[in-house]
């Protein structure tokens, strides 16, 4: 019988191939390959981060191919055993379930949308950011017309640099945008040149004389950034003042002043506090105004993240500022002691607020004048300014601090900056991808680099355009408003025990609204989307909700339930068989090699359910 089967198989290689593709041994091979692939993926993930592991392993073509092969193997194994006998019910249910789960996963991959939205109390939105898709938008700011494309995942979620990646055509009127280059991770780097036409001084200083290469560049009006905290460059344009400095006179103290500094995109604006308190101040021609609602000399964060003033002493000066823009208004805080603390950008992006009090004199102050080649240094140990000292390039000057000497490495009088985008290899965990764009309108072409979550404005054929590269924004047909956000704590500690958001959903068509509560493990569904409590920021009392709409999930869940049911059936049949005392059958199973009566429908006795033996 056995030799006959072999011959019949050999006679029809196609049947032999189909039986092989639906065979148990191929199933075992695929299971083992998937197993090893996933194990490797987690090891890779430990070293390179979750995002990269997803791209390199779980979402790669070959991993998907393995799953397709597994699906084909399961499907063929079912077809080959048709028509089914009674004792194969368990096998059929479990294997159909596996197919269901794979189909559900495929539906999820194609149709599911996952996103998130961060809201503070009282804020509302009618769209959210899709966490899996990036989008490139061009907008004609004069005509208020725009066009967008989704940047396809294969390249733009990748970790390899790409030149001329294929993207769908992006055009607005007669303007065409082409993506020339993609960098998985990038950083703007500044180089300093000395070719400015106007007087724009800069000094490079170091406190470690062994290290002549590095040092820090200090520019006028720059303080506290680049690790140069406490070092300042002052330009003296008054000749009398300069003469006092060159004669080594100790300066007189200036009265303290408070002002608000606003950085919007690349421009910077400063307003005195009193002006800002009186009336809203316009930020250039942007249409944005700022107004100080409250000044708190000694601010403290109280209940619910609200600021309150607890004394008149300037212990922790802060301001509450209302920023009004065409797209709406919002309120932010700024602390003079914590200039780096920037509250998350909600409505008005690219705007930085800093509240500046004329702080105590800088520890080190370099002094230059447009009419003099000399550089002076003034130290202020303990906040008390000493007399200025003349400093020569490359000549160490003793500081009031024990054992430290200051060296002026370089002085430039006509500084200009060049910014260039450099790739970072290997990409960081929290990377900033960038794309280089060529924008063509008629004969004119402009080239620009754009990092993710950034925008760029440019003029082409005397039309103003804005380019935005950011996460895709998905509109919803209802408004989502965060009414209240609550953090429950463990008794006697600050450790959160629970957090929940009360949201109000308002249908845009009917205007009907509904209040829902979302907390950890308690999502809510509205308008086709399910909302989950995913995170929060205690400092600013914002709540982050994740949003999903996944038509694949019910299919997968159905597969789960039938799979569990199927395994119970399999177990039941096995136990039943054992009860009947069919030890002989088991022995036969083990001892006899494969026998097959018909190549397409192998008899159940010789080939029992793959699930069991």
């Amino acid at each position: 019988l056995q030799s006959e089967t072999t011959r019949s198989n050999a006679a029809d290689p196609l049947l032999s191939l189909i039986r092989g593709l639906g065979s148990l041994w191929l199933a075992a091979m695929l299971l083992i390959l998937l197993l090893v692939a996933m194990a490797c993926a987690t090891i890779y993930e430990a070293a390179h981060g979750t995002e990269q592991a997803q791209v390199v392993f779980y979402k790669s073509w070959w991993f998907e191919l393995l799953l397709w092969l597994l699906g084909a193997n399961v499907l063929l194994s079912l077809l080959l055993r048709f028509p089914f006998s009674k004792r194969q019910i368990g096998f059929v249910i479990t294997h159909v379930s596996i197919l269901l789960i794979l189909v559900g996963a495929l539906v999820t991959k194609v149709l599911a949308v996952y996103g998130r939205v961060t809201l503070s109390e009282g804020q509302s939105t009618s769209s959210f950011f899709d966490s899996d898709r990036d989008e490139l938008t061009i907008r004609n700011m004069a005509k208020n017309a725009d066009a967008s494309i989704v940047l396809p995942g294969s390249v733009f979620h990748g970790f390899k640099q790409a030149t001329k990646p294929t993207v769908p055509a992006l055009g607005l009127e007669d303007v065409h945008v082409a993506v020339e280059e993609f960098l998985p991770d990038s950083r703007w780097e500044r180089t300093v040149a000395n070719d400015n036409d106007s007087f724009n001084p800069a000094v490079r200083l170091t406190l470690s004389p062994d290290d002549f290469d590095s040092g820090v560049w200090v520019f006028p009006d720059q303080q506290g950034s680049d690790g140069t905290g406490g070092v300042r460059l002052s330009v003296v344009s008054d000749e009398a003042e300069w003469s006092a400095i060159t004669h080594g006179e100790t300066p007189v103290e200036k009265p303290e002043e408070l002002f608000l500094r606003v950085q919007y995109k690349e421009d910077q604006y400063e307003f005195r506090l009193e002006e800002c308190q009186k009336q809203p101040q316009a930020i250039g021609h942007t249409g944005i105004t700022v107004r100080v609602l409250r000044y708190l000399p000694h601010a403290q964060v109280g209940q619910g993240g609200k600021l309150r003033n607890i004394s008149d002493q300037a212990e922790n000066p802060a301001v509450e500022v209302e920023i009004a823009a065409p797209q709406g208004s919002e309120t932010r805080y700024a602390f003079s002691k914590y200039p780096e603390m920037q509250f998350r950008e909600h409505l008005i992006e690219d705007l930085r607020l800093t509240f500046v009090a004329t702080a105590p004199p800088p520890l080190v102050e370099a002094l230059v004048a447009p009419f003099s080649p000399d550089t002076f240094i003034r130290f202020a140990p303990g906040g008390i300014q000493q007399a200025p000292i003349k400093i020569e390039p490359q000549q160490p000057v003793a500081t009031p601090w024990h054992g430290e000497a200051l060296v002026l490495l370089e002085r430039l009088d006509h500084t200009s900056f060049r910014w260039s985008l450099t790739p970072i290899e290997p990409p960081r965990d929290t990377r900033i991808p960038a794309i280089r764009l060529a924008i063509t309108s008629g004969a004119e072409t402009a080239n620009t680099w754009l990092q993710r979550h950034k925008s760029k404005t440019l003029e082409l054929n005397s039309q103003p355009y804005e380019l935005v590269y950011t996460t895709k924004r998905v509109p919803m047909d209802f408004d989502l408003k965060l009414d209240k956000f609550k953090i429950g704590r463990y008794p006697g500690s600050m450790r959160p025990r629970s957090f929940s958001s009360t949201v109000i959903m308002t249908d845009q068509q009917t205007g009907r609204s509904e209040t829902r509560e979302i907390s950890m493990n308690r999502p809510t569904t509205f308008g086709g989307y399910t909302f989950f409590q995913s995170g929060y920021d205690e400092q600013v009392m914002t709540s982050t909700l994740s949003i999903s709409s996944d038509p694949g999930q019910p299919i997968v869940f159905l597969g789960y339930i039938t799979l569990m049911g199927g395994t119970v059936v399999v177990l039941g049949i096995r136990i039943g068989e054992r009860r009947k005392g069919q030890a002989a059958v088991t022995a036969q199973d083990v001892d006899h090699p494969a026998t097959a009566r018909s190549p397409l429908a192998p008899p159940p006795t010789s080939e029992p359910e793959p699930q069991t033996a």
Partner: protein, 600 residues
């Protein structure tokens, strides 16, 4: 940890010099022990606070065999003396060398360490490190020491023992009783507290008991927005006193001994004794879990310790059911050994034994009570399967011609693997559904989730190959080889840098892959079951301790766990190879003999 396990550990550790400060030895602490405190997000009795603090600092709740409450009082009342006592163990010689601590000393005092420059520098450096980087073993050790110092300082400064309830807000922090009470202490609490200090110093038994009762009454008379019900306090004291999980593993060890006897004497009446022992072990574990559930107010399934308890419980539960169903004498033996092992590991490993506040995601959900027990019972069943697989290896290596025995063991093993795999599948499915309800994604490729699927696929492969009686055609081997080679060609560039170790690991993986698909028969199935169980071990502890990433890594350990895992894994591998070698030699001898026998 109980006195019994202390004996066990004493063998491992360098002996601690006994403190020369005599503690009062005549005091009755029963009343004081039951005073409710607010501590670590709960309201446990003072006994628990003392046990937790003293165990976290010294590594042993019954420090020097003293009552924990007594030691806590001593630390509070007599902090100057206890600052100079050697309390903090640093057993690792390498760590001591790195921190420039004396080689010969293993236990250090608070004042030794708090002024030790190299340690303080290292602590500062570690705390200001780049947060995105993982801690190296020395750094995590240093942070551990820092944590102990901070806890001790808290006790010495009287900041930890908070007994005075808040009158208005049930969640507000409770207050501590100041050590130096006002001169004319009219307040009853202060008076009792001062009296307690005095009688403690004087070792005055009756006075101390009186002061404890006064203190308890005075605290009880204070207005409180919330105070734990006395029943709950009593439950927790009972739990602390009986240490049910330690008791459970002694019972199970006894059960294992009885099962071994049963296997030898083969008497029906003795099987009943074994069954009773098995049920006793199960009952004690269940009782412990029930107490702990009451104390925590949630299912005790939130961390490694609690899941180990469920592992022991699941083993016993499954063994009772299957012993009644299968009546095989191997069942109670393997179950008792495995259950005792799980509970003993829970008891003696340096795991956190205390009820802690847990992440919001684990709270207010039915899924934890469904998912964790299913997973743990499946691990128990698969652990039993791996024990049986070892038995199969030994018996087939030693007596390869006893095919009746081999068939019986194989059948038992098959049932365990089948049921374990079904439960594991159900566990993965419930976990996936939990994920969908908590985060919105039913599958997120989280390492823990991936590894449980890896283990599941391993067992599925075993079951499918076992059912396969079809010969693999020649082109099947070619297809397999092509798929495997292509796979390695794609994957290996990502595993750069390729070290010799990695080459060996990859080759080993390739061999294991071939063995998994092509290896058939009882011996091969047993070997595969052992390999698959190591995938479970990797899922259970390796993901947290070796990979240390992902959403499920709520607890984080050091390199010690990884080293242990590796050592045990290699020992098991050596054992399997040895058995395989003996088996092959035996078989070839038999094969050589049988034709001759036939001819004769």
């Amino acid at each position: 940890m109980t006195a019994y396990t202390v004996i066990l550990l004493a063998a491992l550790r360098v002996s601690t010099p006994a403190p020369d400060v005599p503690l009062p030895n005549r005091l009755d602490l029963d009343v004081l022990r039951s005073v409710p405190a607010q501590y670590d997000g709960r309201w446990p009795p003072l006994d628990t606070v003392a046990r937790d603090l003293i165990e976290s600092v010294t590594g042993d709740a019954t420090f020097e065999d003293h009552d924990p409450t007594l030691v806590l009082l001593a630390w509070t009342f007599d902090s100057e003396t206890w600052k100079r006592q050697r309390l903090i163990p640093i057993y690792n010689a390498e760590v001591r060398r790195e921190l420039q601590l004396p080689e010969s000393q293993t236990v250090f005092s608070f004042s030794d360490l708090i002024v030790h420059g190299p340690l303080i520098l290292k602590i500062r450096e570690t705390r200001s490190r780049d947060r995105s980087r993982k801690l190296d073993p020395l750094e995590s050790k240093v942070l551990e020491i820092n944590e102990k110092l901070a806890q001790l300082q808290g006790v010495f400064n009287n900041e930890v023992v908070r007994l005075i309830p808040d009158p208005d807000d049930s969640l507000a922090p409770w207050q501590q009783i100041p050590l130096a009470a006002p001169q004319q202490a009219t307040d009853a609490v202060h008076k009792a507290w001062t009296e307690l200090q005095r009688t403690f110093y004087e070792n005055d038994r009756d006075g101390f008991t009186k002061a404890s009762q006064d203190l308890k009454a005075a605290l009880n008379a204070l207005p409180a927005a919330y105070r734990p019900p006395p029943r709950k306090i009593a439950t927790e004291l009972l739990y602390n006193r009986t240490a049910p999980f330690s008791l459970a593993w002694y019972v199970m060890v006894a059960g294992a001994a009885l099962s071994a006897v049963a296997l030898a004497i083969r008497r029906k009446w003795f099987d009943v004794v074994v069954l009773v022992a098995l049920i006793a072990g199960f009952a004690v574990t269940t009782f412990g879990l029930w107490l702990r559930w009451h104390i925590a107010g949630r299912i005790p399934a939130s961390n490694m310790y609690e899941s180990l308890l469920f592992l022991g419980w699941g083993t016993a539960a499954f063994a009772i059911v299957s012993f009644l169903a299968i009546r095989h004498r191997m069942v109670p033996l393997t179950a008792s050994v495995m259950g005792a092992l799980a509970l003993m590991l829970a008891d003696i490993l340096p795991l956190d034994h205390y009820v802690r506040p847990i992440q919001p995601v684990l709270l207010d959900t039915i899924w934890m009570s469904v998912h964790v027990p299913i997973i743990m019972v499946s691990y128990s069943v698969l652990a039993l399967a791996v024990l049986i697989a070892h038995v199969q290896l030994f018996s087939m290596a030693i007596a390869p011609n006893r095919s009746g025995l081999a068939r019986a063991v194989d059948s038992l093993h098959y049932w365990y693997v089948l049921i374990g795999a079904i439960l594991l599948g159900a566990g993965i499915i419930t976990g996936s559904m939990w994920g969908a309800s908590a985060w919105g994604r039913y599958w997120g490729w989280d390492p823990k989730e991936v590894w449980s699927l890896v283990a599941f696929l391993g067992y599925l492969a075993i079951l499918h190959v076992r059912a396969d009686h079809q010969r693999i055609p020649a082109w099947g081997y070619v297809l397999g080889a092509v798929l495997t080679v292509t796979f390695f060609a794609i994957v290996s560039p990502y595993l750069r840098p390729i070290t010799p170790m990695k080459v060996v690991a990859l080759l080993g993986t390739a061999v294991a892959m071939v063995f998994f698909v092509a290896g058939r028969g009882r011996f091969a199935t047993a070997v595969k079951s052992i390999a698959a169980f190591w995938l479970i071990v990797m899922t259970y502890v390796g993901v947290n301790y070796v990979l240390g990433i992902g959403l499920h890594s709520y607890g984080f350990g050091t390199g010690a766990m990884a080293r242990w895992m590796l050592t045990l894994g290699f020992a098991d591998l050596a054992l399997v190879l040895l058995c395989g070698l003996v088996y092959l030699i035996h078989r070839s001898v038999l094969a050589g003999r049988s034709p001759a026998a036939a001819a004769a």
